[in-house]
Amino acid sequence: MRRGRFTGYWLMLPAGLWLALFFVIPFYSLLATSLFDPKGSVLTGYDVDYRFANFVDALDEFWEPLFRSLWYAAAATAICLVLGYVLAYAIAFKAGRWRNLLLVLVIAPFFTSFLVRTLSWKLILADDGFVVDTLQFLHVLGDDGRLLATPVAVIAGLVYNFLPFMVLPLYASLEKIDGRLIEAASDLYASPTRGFLKVTLPLSKPGVVAGTLLTFIPAAGDYINAALLGSPNQRMVGNVIQNLFTSTGDYATAGALSVILMAIIVAMVMVYIRTAGTEELV
C-alpha cells in the first residue's frame, strides 16, 4: 500500500467512470425500460408507467424459455466442469513443458469467430453428416434420429463455446496446488482417487467456483447456440429478449425479462458463493 492519499482515486477514476456510465447507468435505464407502458410501440414511443405488472406478464408468458435457459446452462456448466477439469488437470500436472503451448491452444479458438465455429458445428452435426450417420450406424440414434434442433445440439454448442472460460480459472487454481500435497496424501494412505477427492478437488475450489460462474452466466444469456443449433422448442430466454428488442420492438417486456434474468442470476450466484464458501472470486 502506498502513500499519496488521492492517487488511488485518480487511477480508478477513468475505468470507474466508464463502468458507471456504460454499465451501471444503462442498468438503471433498463430498469426504467422494464417499467414502460407496454401499450407503446417503437413507432409511437413508450412512457415510463411504473408498470410492475410487466414482470408478471413477462414471467407468465416466458417462464418456459427462462426455465429452459437455466437448465441448459446448468447442464452445459456441469459438462464443461467435467471436460474442463480433465483438460485443466492434464495441462497443470501432466503436460510438462508443453504446458504453455496447450494453454495457448485453449484460447486460440477465440480468434476464429464464435459464430463461424458455431456454424461449423451445424455442419458437423448435420442430419446427413458423418456424426449422425455414425451414431445411426451404431444404433445410438434411431434411423430418423438427429442431433441438430435437439437439446443435445444446443447444450453441446454451449459446452463448446464456453469451455475455455471453465478451463482457464480451473487451470489457474490447479496450477497453484503444491504437488507435494498430493504426494503427502498418498503417503498417508490415500489412493489416487481418494487423494484427488480429498486434496486436489477441495484445493481447486476457487477455480471451480470461478469457472462455473464464468460458464453458467454467459450460457444462460446466450441465444446464438439455440438459434443456430436448436429449433423453436429449444428457444432460450436470450432468443426471446433479442426478438422482443429487435423484431417485435416490445421494449417493456424485453426489459422486464432482462431484469428478471439478471435478478435470478445474481440470486443464484449469491447463494452459490455462500454455500461454496468462496468470497474471493477470480
Binding site: 414502460f36 407503446g40 410501440s41 417503437v42 413507432l43 409511437t44 414511443g45 413508450y46 408468458e61 416466458f62 418456459e64 424459455p65 448435420a126 442430419d127 446427413d128 430418423d144 438427429r146 441438430l148 434442433a149 429449433s231 423453436p232 422448442n233 428457444r235 432468443n239 426471446v240 426478438n243 422482443l244 428488442f245 429487435t246 423484431s247 417485435t248 420492438g249 416490445d250 421494449y251
Partner: protein
C-alpha cells in the same frame, strides 16, 4: 422514448446523384441475376450504361428484422446509409405512413407509370405509386426435396406428416405463414375475424409444440433445404428455381397460395435519390424486366416483359410462376390490410409462438 413519425419533406438531404455516381441498395437474397461467365447481369449493364457504381447488398432477410435494423435511424431522422431498400407491401405501407420514405419524382420514373401491370397500379397504401415501385411479386407455397421425401401436396401434409416431423421450416413472415394456415383451416386471409385468427394461431402452436417445425426462417430456409437438414418447407416461389438444385421442387399447396409484392423504396436522407430513380426506371424497361424474371423466377410486375421474354428464354413465356394466367391468379390470396393496433396484436401473438 420519442415518437418515430417523421416528415419526409423536412427530413431529407441534398441529392448528390449528379456529382456522386453511386447507389446503395438493400434487397432480399436471391432476388437479382449475377454475372457468370458469358452472362452479363442486368446490374452490370446498368452500371455500364449509367456509370453509376451500385453497392448492392442482400441484407433483407425478413421484413421485421430489417425494420428493427433501421428503426433507430429513420425514427430519429438519421441516415440509414442506404438509397433504396425493397420491402413487402405491408411494411412498405407502414414506413410510408410514418413518413420515412421519400416521394419519387414522377418525371424521372416514366417507365413505372407506363409499364406497371394494372393489378398493382393502385394499391390502397400508395394509390398513385408516389412512394414505391414493385420490384417483384411472388407466391408463398411449399418446397420439398424430392430425393429425400415423397411429394408434399398440401400445407396440411406439411404440418402433420410424420415423416416430416422436425424436418420442416415455416417462414417468420406472419402474413405468409398465417395466411397459409388460415387457408388450411378454411378461413380467408383477406378477410378473417378474431376466431379465425385464434384458430390458426392454435394450429401453429400445436405444430410447433409437436416438434413438427424445425425452424422459423427468413430467406435462409433455402440452405437447410439444400443441405438436407430440412426436407420440406414453406417457401417463396422463385427461390427454388434459383437454387439450381434439380431435387428441389416448388408446389402450390392444394389449399391455395399467398401472393405479395416487394417494393423499392427510397428512404429519408438518401443522398442518391436521382440514381435510385434511374435504377427504378431501368428495371421497368420490359427487356430488363424479362431478363431479370428469367433469372429469379418471380412474378414480373412489368408490362411487356412477357413479350420480351420470347427473346430471353422462350420456354419461360408461359411459366405460371412468372406470368401467372388469370385463372391461376384466382387461386392466390393476399393478406388483409391491418391497422397499426392489429399489426401489434397479431405480430405479438405470432412472435410468441415462433420465438418463445
Amino acid at each position: 422514448t420519442p415518437d418515430r413519425k417523421q416528415d419526409p419533406a423536412s427530413c431529407r438531404t441534398r441529392d448528390l446523384s449528379s456529382s456522386d455516381k453511386r447507389l446503395v441498395v438493400s434487397n432480399w437474397p436471391g432476388y437479382i441475376d449475377e454475372d457468370d461467365g458469358d452472362y452479363t447481369s442486368t446490374l452490370t449493364e446498368f452500371e455500364k450504361k449509367t456509370g453509376i457504381k451500385v453497392s448492392y447488398t442482400a441484407d433483407v432477410n425478413d421484413n421485421l428484422e430489417f425494420f428493427a435494423k433501421v428503426v433507430n435511424q429513420l425514427g430519429s431522422c438519421q441516415s440509414s446509409k442506404r438509397d433504396m431498400f425493397v420491402l413487402t407491401d405491408w411494411m412498405a405501407a407502414r414506413m410510408i405512413q410514418v413518413g420515412w420514405i421519400q416521394p419519387l419524382d414522377k418525371a424521372k420514373v416514366p417507365n413505372v407509370h407506363a409499364n406497371l401491370i394494372d393489378s398493382l397500379q393502385h394499391v390502397g397504401w400508395d394509390p398513385d405509386r408516389t412512394y414505391s415501385a414493385p420490384w417483384q411479386s411472388g407466391l408463398t407455397g411449399i418446397a420439398y426435396n424430392k430425393s429425400k421425401v415423397k411429394e408434399v401436396r398440401s400445407f396440411e401434409e406439411l404440418l402433420t406428416r410424420s415423416d416430416l416431423r422436425g424436418r420442416i421450416s415455416l417462414l417468420t413472415e406472419m402474413r405468409d405463414t398465417m395466411g397459409l394456415i388460415m387457408l388450411t383451416e378454411g378461413a380467408d386471409p383477406a378477410n378473417f375475424d378474431q376466431d379465425d385468427w385464434d384458430n390458426a394461431i392454435d394450429r401453429l402452436r400445436k405444430a410447433r409444440n409437436d416438434g413438427q417445425v424445425r425452424a422459423f426462417t427468413g430467406n435462409d430456409y433455402i440452405q437447410d433445404l439444400s443441405a438436407g437438414n430440412i426436407l420440406a418447407c414453406e417457401a417463396w416461389s422463385g427461390d427454388v428455381a434459383a437454387a439450381e438444385d434439380e431435387n428441389l421442387v416448388f408446389v402450390s399447396p392444394e389449399e391455395g397460395q399467398m401472393i405479395w409484392s416487394d417494393n423499392m423504396l427510397v428512404p429519408n436522407l438518401a443522398s442518391h435519390q436521382g440514381n435510385a430513380e434511374e435504377w427504378i426506371n431501368y428495371y421497368y424497361e420490359p427487356e430488363v424486366a424479362a431478363k431479370l424474371a428469367a433469372y429469379v423466377w418471380y412474378i414480373c410486375p412489368v408490362k411487356g416483359a412477357q413479350e420480351a421474354m420470347e427473346k430471353v428464354d422462350p420456354s419461360l413465356v408461359d411459366n405460371q410462376l412468372i406470368f401467372p394466367s388469370a385463372e391461376s391468379l384466382k387461386t392466390m390470396h393476399s393478406f388483409m390490410a391491418l391497422e397499426e393496433f392489429q399489426i401489434r396484436a397479431y405480430e405479438g401473438d405470432f412472435a410468441d409462438v415462433i420465438g418463445g
